[in-house]
């Protein structure tokens, strides 16, 4: 933590890493659930109605959700340009694959409803594959980032675990979103999906948590230094309780009058927040682990001030109209009400 004290007068990079953290977390949660819904899309011929409902449940939101990714990348570029170049050059091919995935799902969403009926299934497949491609590459990139862009076989293995872990986590939050938004058979199915994805996510989180401190000595020291250890170990403990509690609750769902159907989603959001805090705690104040800290990477003061002035005004407004949008589209997504 010495770096933090040395730079105590220079607080702008800290504000921006906090903003960026917020954007990444918002992205992981928000686009996480709509990518998850895409991954879970059942492809059987008899599932067409459920596919329609699932995609309808994310229809009004996906575009704004993806914008958080643009904001996160934008903030990285604005506030930490050298880190932006370093990260994106190292992840050249995975980024390109992820973008192809995002393109596929973004357009499939619109084409499926408008193209000829005989092409609809093909666009649904495009949507599912695009979602899966995006998620896997994001997990892979997370692994590469944690491993400091190391290309050895062992770190590639870690990246593979990370890719699967993120896929499980997005499926988890996507399924929980469906428990909240769906009714009847689809809801019952979503409950089962949430349980399975939750267990898979737990395995993924445990694997990443176990390997990360072992390969990054700095991370180990940070987590297991007395007396801080008593305090920060709350994060994994709470996280574990979240997983177990959710699993127990899911066994009882769906309940009469749709009680508690929103609880799993918010528990998963809590788990995401905890995992993200853990990751942030492992590396702060490094922006590229072990290579570059936020003060080394920060851009000019006058540029940060200029954008901060706007961000302070605009971000609350964004949060307000986002909340408004979620209020407009509250409730179930399944049944069509004819007026």
């Amino acid at each position: 933590m010495n770096e933090v004290l040395n730079h105590s007068g220079d607080w702008l990079p800290v504000v921006f890493i906090a903003l960026m953290g917020l954007a990444v977390l918002a992205y992981a949660i928000l686009d996480g659930y709509d990518l998850g819904v895409g991954i879970l899309l059942p492809m059987g011929a008899e599932d067409e109605l459920q596919r329609d409902t699932m995609i309808a449940s994310i229809g009004p939101f996906w575009d704004a959700n993806e914008t958080w990714l643009v904001l996160a990348i934008g903030l990285l570029l604005i506030a930490f340009p050298s880190a932006h170049s370093l990260i994106l050059m190292n992840l050249y091919i995975p980024v390109a694959v992820m973008l192809i995935g995002l393109i596929m799902r973004g357009v499939a969403f619109d084409f499926r409803a408008k193209a000829a009926v005989d092409h609809k299934l093909a666009w649904d497949r495009t949507f599912k594959i695009g979602s899966l491609l995006t998620t896997l590459t994001q997990g892979y990139m997370l692994g590469q980032y944690v491993m400091g862009f190391d290309q050895s076989l062992s770190s590639q293995l870690f990246c593979a675990v990370s890719a699967l872990g993120v896929t499980a986590a997005y499926s988890y939050i996507g399924a929980a979103w469906l428990v909240l938004k769906a009714e009847d058979q689809l809801q019952t199915r979503a409950v089962r999906w949430t349980q399975l994805a939750g267990r898979a996510s737990l395995v993924g989180v445990v694997a990443v948590c176990a390997i990360n401190p072992l390969v990054n000595p700095g991370v180990f020291d940070r987590w297991f230094t007395f007396p801080l250890v008593m305090f920060v170990l709350l994060i994994p403990v709470l996280c574990f309780l979240g997983f177990v509690g959710n699993d127990i609750l899911l066994r009882r769902l769906p309940k009469a009058h749709d009680r508690h159907s929103s609880v799993p989603f918010f528990i998963v959001v809590g788990i995401f927040v905890l995992c993200f805090s853990g990751l942030g705690f492992s590396f702060f104040p490094d922006i590229v682990p072990g290579k570059l800290n936020i003060w080394e990477a920060a851009s000019a003061r006058e540029s940060l001030q200029f954008i901060l002035a706007g961000a302070v005004v605009v971000i609350p407004v964004i949060l307000m109209y986002t909340a408004f949008s979620y209020r407009v589209f509250h409730g179930k997504a399944t049944e069509l009400h004819y007026h």
């Binding site: 575009d63 570029l77 000019a300």
Partner: protein, 470 residues
């Protein structure tokens, strides 16, 4: 060719491919959204359901076009880091905040309110829905504002100083309102208006030709033609101002556009020629004497600095020379078409031949816009940021094979998407001939999501209750 040059060429091709594909869709949506707002507002004010039917059809086209713009735009935001790291390292202090303001003030606004605009019509009062359409329109226009501020700053940088080899902003107002920005912004917004107007008119003409008897396509056709007839002469005027501004700040660009190899007084306006970079002269030149000098300097014998005074520091001539003529030629054709169309509007029915011509002109705005952008962007070469950073100095050290691979993937995806887009537009137009667009009489706040495809609608359900599968 050495390795760096390979990566440079591939990165340039990739950037050109990405941005050319991307710009097609915002060029339509920036203005189409204002047209939709106009349709919806007219419906709110008059209660005439034809406006709502026109809105219903065009909002679906808008949603599709917007989605293509969004996904191809996300690709752009990553390109700076993956392919042009030198750009951000040198001018990140300027480019970063301008892009940041675009995300903060435009992207979230349009994305969030688009959800309400497309899927919320039964869930919010009609006024709130119209307000959402307005917010999306403002968002798309703001987006154009910020990105054109950055682009113009790269053409004519202002309000900065260089410290330790890195650009720092000294005056943000000068950065944003740099010399070429007001002209470029107006020129692009008008280009968007013209592109959308011909797009609307062309697709409506196609519906009428396919036997659509309804009023909505006729109303949309009329809207498109009148809009184009007003905007086309305005565009000629603004384009001229933009040219004068370029003449003042980037004379080498004008010299290449006009094919002026040697500084001359009383330069002719070349209608046609084939510029030759080897001999540094024009072949087969046909021109109006003294006209170029008159346009640019308002004197018949005014001096135009030739390419000889920018030796080794001027853009390639052919793309600018031809690009400029394609843009202007297309613009004049659009002007003539729109005015003839407005004249023909007085007849009870449009002649079929003219409708067919309008169909052929559906994407005329794309050709003019792309040609214009090639002139302005190629015209900046060899600089990425005029006088500050050369394109070759900004490129990534990533291996050419990687860039080649990503480029191949993008090109493949773009070809498929372009085919699917045009195919789907055609199909939607044909379908609308037979299916009545419904109008929502009373939006209800407790309605469910309405974007379920029509396969869910039972044949015996009331027509006009389950549309909006935007």
């Amino acid at each position: 060719m050495d390795t760096a040059l390979d990566t440079l060429m591939l990165s340039r091709i990739q950037f050109a491919a990405n941005i050319s594909f991307h710009i097609l869709f915002p060029t339509i949506t920036i203005a189409l959204c204002w047209i939709l707002f106009f349709f919806k507002l007219r419906f709110d004010l008059t209660g005439n359901p034809v406006w709502m039917r026109a809105y219903r059809f065009w909002v679906k086209i808008f949603a599709l076009t917007f989605a293509l713009g969004v996904v191809s735009g996300i690709t752009m935001s990553f390109q700076f880091g993956t392919n042009w790291p030198g750009y951000m390292e040198k001018v990140g202090n300027i480019a970063g905040p301008l892009l940041g303001y675009e995300v903060l003030t435009a992207f979230f606004l349009e994305a969030t309110f688009l959800g309400i605009m497309l899927f919320g019509i039964k869930r919010v009062p009609s006024k709130v829905h119209t307000f959402s359409a307005l917010m999306v329109a403002i968002g798309t226009t703001l987006s154009a504002f910020w990105i054109l501020a950055l682009n113009s700053w790269m053409q004519t940088p202002a309000g900065y100083e260089i410290r330790d080899g890195v650009v720092h902003a000294t005056n943000w107002l000068e950065v944003i309102f740099n010399p070429s920005f007001p002209y470029r912004l107006m020129h692009m917004l008008l280009a968007s208006g013209l592109t959308a107007a011909f797009f609307v008119a062309g697709l409506s003409a196609y519906r009428i030709l396919k036997g659509d008897e309804k009023q909505a396509p006729r109303l949309a056709l009329k809207t498109g033609l009148i809009l184009a007839a007003i905007l086309a002469p305005l565009q000629a005027f603004v384009g001229d101002l933009h040219g004068l501004n370029t003449f003042e700040h980037q004379p080498q660009k004008i010299a290449a556009m006009e094919g002026v190899w040697e500084t001359e007084q009383g330069a002719p306006l070349l209608l046609f020629a084939i510029p030759d970079e080897e001999t540094r002269s024009n072949h087969f030149a046909v021109g109006i004497p003294n006209m170029a000098s008159l346009i640019l300097t308002h004197e018949t014998d005014g001096e135009i600095r030739g390419l000889n005074s920018f030796d080794g520091d001027h853009p390639p001539v052919k793309p600018l020379f031809f690009g400029f003529r394609i843009m202007v030629g297309m613009g004049l054709l659009m002007l003539a078409t729109a005015w003839l169309g407005c004249y023909l509007l007085r007849r009870p029915a449009m002649p079929r031949a003219f409708l067919k011509f309008l169909v052929a002109m559906t994407f005329s705005g794309w050709i003019a816009t792309l040609a214009g952008w090639y002139v302005t962007e190629v015209g900046r070469q060899p600089w990425l940021v005029t006088g500050i950073l050369k394109t070759a100095d900004a490129v990534t050290p990533v291996a050419p094979a990687n860039v080649g691979l990503s480029l191949a993937m993008y090109l493949l995806v773009y070809v498929v998407l372009m085919w699917a887009y045009i195919h789907t537009l055609k199909r939607m137009a044909i379908k609308s001939v037979y299916v009545e667009e419904f109008e929502t009489a009373e939006p209800a706040a407790d309605g469910s999501l309405t974007n379920l495809p029509e396969s869910h609608i039972k044949p015996n359900s009331k027509p006009g209750t389950a549309g909006g599968n935007a």
